[in-house]
């Protein structure tokens, strides 16, 4: 019995250190971080249009599209599709996405579409696409916005996030930042 009472008291005092002081210290440190640890935002003319790390749905032809999402890009939740590779319903969904993509991008042939543009991300909030996925959308955007493809390709290059130190990992592009850049193009 004495052991249990000691255990209760040890639990309560250690809780003060690990569950109160520790998070408060990190919250203090976060005040020095971008946007005080509330998540970095992107603003246009003082109006917040999104969080830099959180992906958004883009379905209009004039914007670069994001990847498909099982969460509908509503970041009040997050979800992957959790579909297995042999699931027939899943393969039908992917087929439908391919068809939609081809309808909106008539100058693209099927064998150019990278699979990431027709498969759902893990979080449902993926903020990025790869440069390849951006490039195959250039013709559609150039036609819709009536601007030259070269300008858009240059924009893609300037927004490409290279692998870490040029050595490790993937090349990505933040879709929201890319589309903000697109709106600023004349």
């Amino acid at each position: 019995m004495k052991t249990l009472f000691s255990a209760i008291r040890l639990t309560l005092v250690s809780m003060v250190l690990f569950a109160v002081i520790y998070p408060l210290l990190i919250t203090g440190i976060a005040q020095l971080a971008p946007n005080q640890g509330k998540g970095e935002t992107i603003e246009i003319n003082g109006k917040t249009v999104g969080y830099q790390k959180i992906g958004q749905s883009f379905t209009a032809d004039k914007y670069f599209w994001s990847r498909p999402s099982a969460a509908g890009y509503n970041a009040a939740s997050s979800a992957g599709s959790n579909k297995g590779a042999t699931n027939p319903d899943y393969l039908a969904t992917v087929q439908a996405r391919i068809d939609t993509f081809l309808v909106h991008n008539p100058k693209v042939v099927k064998s150019q579409i990278p699979s990431e543009m027709v498969t759902a991300s893990g979080s449902g909030l993926d903020p990025d696409i790869t440069p390849t996925s951006a490039r195959i959308q250039v013709k559609r955007i150039a036609d819709t916005r009536k601007i030259s493809e070269d300008k858009i390709l240059a924009l893609i290059d300037s927004h490409t996030q290279k692998p870490l130190l040029g050595l490790f990992g993937t090349e990505t592009i933040n879709v929201l930042e890319l589309n903000v850049g697109l709106d600023e193009l004349k």
């Binding site: 809780m15 998070p23 440190i29 958004q56 914007y63 509503n74 990278p114």
Partner: protein, 575 residues
Amino acid sequence: MNTEISGIIALFVATVLLAIPFGKYIAKVYAGEKTLLDPVFNPVEKLFYRISGIDATQEMNWKQHLTAMLGINFIWFFLSMFILMNQGWLPLNPDGNPSMSPDLAFNTAISFIVNCNLQHYSGETGASYLTQLVGLMYLHFVSAATGMAACAIVFNALRERQAEKLGNFYNYFLKSCTRILLPVSMVVASLLVFNGSPMTFEGKDTITTLQGDSVQVSRGPAAAFIAIKHLGTNGGGFFGVNSAHPFENPSYFTNGIEMITQMLIPFAFIFALGYYLNRKRLAWTIFGVMTVGFLSLTIPTVIAEMNGSPAIAHLGVVQPNGSMEGKEARFGTAASGYWSIATTVISTGSVNSMHDSSMPLSGAMQLLAMMINAFYGGCGVGILNYFIFIVLAVFISGLMVGRTPEFLGKKVEAREVKIAAIIAILHPFLILVGAALSSYLAARDAPMGWWFNGNATGWLNNPGYHGFSEMLYEYTSSAANNGSGFEGLGDNNPFWNITTGIVLLLSRYLPIIGPVAIAGLLASKKYIPESAGTLKTDTSTFAIMTFAVIAIIAALSFFPALALGPLAEHFKLFK
């Protein structure tokens, strides 16, 4: 070289390079030597002990250790049950999330005290900030420290002498928290906040997107939580999709930090064993066996993920980056595949991609990693699991050469081997009984009444072989105290909450009690100095022997189940 491949090689090398000195530090902490943080934490610990009425210098035998450990774990269970079932009205709940149902609270509380973190809820909608910090993050610290303290007891028991008294549980426990977990968590959490993870007490934000949609964005005190969830190999995420969430794991760089953080203590404990017992060769032998095991699971997974799915190729699109369903563009397939095995060999269970959508072969490797559960393993408990296999290997080798089996100068006799055999059999027993029960119900599509809303097949998210894999994975993850899942499974209902809760309890405490008991029994025996007739346990021959024992036990127990699930699906996909 491909930058995705070089990325994962760099991760592994960096982890080993950090773990060697850190292991030396851990050995010093448990040996009671002076360390860097003594001036800060010695007074804090003294104060804690005074308030609690604990004498941390009083040495305990192995039974007293276990009593102390189980006693304090018991308290944590009730405390977190209370918070989870009352979070709706308790403070720090800006998003107004409701209190948990009793069966969900039961499962969640157990799964956090046992270092598993199955998480049948979603962080954004199922937990208040009070729950996240006091109900769950506190358990991240103390459940990891429980495993580490148990391992420290075993270290102490394996020293070259005859002893009953094996140090003090509270001393090992609290030092694990203050000297190891807290300082490293501070560093990792700080790195995370500067790289995009939120640390705020504000609730959801509502914004209008560039295209004009109105969406909400969940935030919260995440960075502190994420750091300890990895360091303590807990794995329970702040947000629903865990480290696939862009706030929980914002970039390739943070992915590397989180990866190294979760493997650091499991690696370091192996080296700590070498320093503590002054048997560095033994430590490197153990590390070698574990690394061979780890690589033979990782390499096929990374290749399978980078090659992509034939079913997607059949639809006519290209897969330049491999199989991207359930994966994030910023991590890519190599780092996602590597993570999926790292998180399953050690018992973290955090995910940066959705395992349910992995290639079937990767799913088989993830399952196998948890079925073996002894390559590196969780904080402290990884070595305990491996210790069981060492005892069995010593016993079998002893029989083969016709000598009394010995380990580190202590005779291994019938009682120790019996305990080891029971613990080794318990793991497949819990997994296969659970999988058999649930798939029996699913095969009959049985009406479940109170246990589940609807018929049993309703909890599956995928048909066929993959559906079976989902159920097998859930029990394997519970029994390995891992916490990852094939998350398509509909698991927030009384059937899954209660059955996995029971598996969690049995599979956590018995595999701690067993090795501590064996070590305690060995410690009380006479120490026999090494002679020409001693079976050497730090040679490559013994390493191969241990690997063979692990492979045979795992293969014999689990091959049929793997063949029915992921292997069958693999051959269907590649036919």
